[in-house]
């Protein structure tokens, strides 16, 4: 397979319809496209923004490696990963994975695999800024994210 993942790390938002169409338009072999969008939550209504710091060279290398692995494991027709950095407001997009395949289970697995690895292997860190100006706080890593990887082993 000579499918190359499309990996972008950027400040700007993305358009999901457009990203799906880049992977599927004009191709007869794509029967299933799964997208995952990660959105900045704010249940308490107290968040001003999430600030995403990242390690640029490593983030790109690492996500490309994980995405190439997903293509091989699930025989995907294509995969796109867009991870934003900088300040992101509640309700805004943080990350997008688009996984395309002839069949639905492969498309689901590709996107699920990518997100599980992204959570614990991609060098991004989130800091919370509060509306009331209280001290900024780095988000803690979750044990559940570590264990989510195990199901792919």
């Amino acid at each position: 397979m000579s499918v190359t993942p499309d990996v972008r790390i950027q400040c700007e938002d993305f358009d999901i319809t457009n990203e799906i169409s880049k992977l599927s338009a004009g191709r007869g072999d794509v029967g299933a496209v799964v997208t995952f969008s990660g959105i900045c939550r704010d249940e308490a209504g107290s968040l001003s923004a999430l600030e995403l710091e990242h390690y640029p060279e490593m983030a790109e290398t690492e996500i490309k490696r994980i995405a190439a692995d997903a293509i091989k494991r699930f025989e995907l027709s294509g995969i796109t990963v867009i991870h934003r950095h900088g300040k992101i407001k509640p309700g805004e997009n943080i990350v997008l994975v688009v996984s395309a395949s002839p069949h639905r289970h492969a498309a689901f697995d590709g996107a699920g695999f990518l997100m599980d690895f992204l959570k614990t292997r991609a060098p991004f860190w989130k800091k919370e800024h509060r509306l009331d100006g209280s001290e900024e706080k780095w988000v803690d890593a979750k044990d559940s994210d570590d264990s989510a990887i195990e199901r792919w082993e």
């Binding site: 990242h54 390690y55 490593m58 991870h83 991609a122 991004f124 860190w125 989130k126 780095w138």
Partner: protein
Amino acid sequence: MKLVYFAWLRERVGVGEEEVELPATVATVSDLFDWLNSRGENYQEALKHPDVVRVALDQQHEGDRNASIAGAREIALFPPMTGG
């Protein structure tokens, strides 16, 4: 040798990156931690829970504290990742 720090490790060390001349005795990741601890309180504060510190050698994850750092051009220290 370039050292880079991210998130609260960067804040505690006080710089995002620095060029260092490592003594010849610093051969492994573990040695690097010891050497950094000898450089001042800011490093001690950054490395005070060494188990949660993640390491990348030339942008590759390195989970083994006994791994050799010989030949690495850039070593990154950072907390567990919270992307996605």
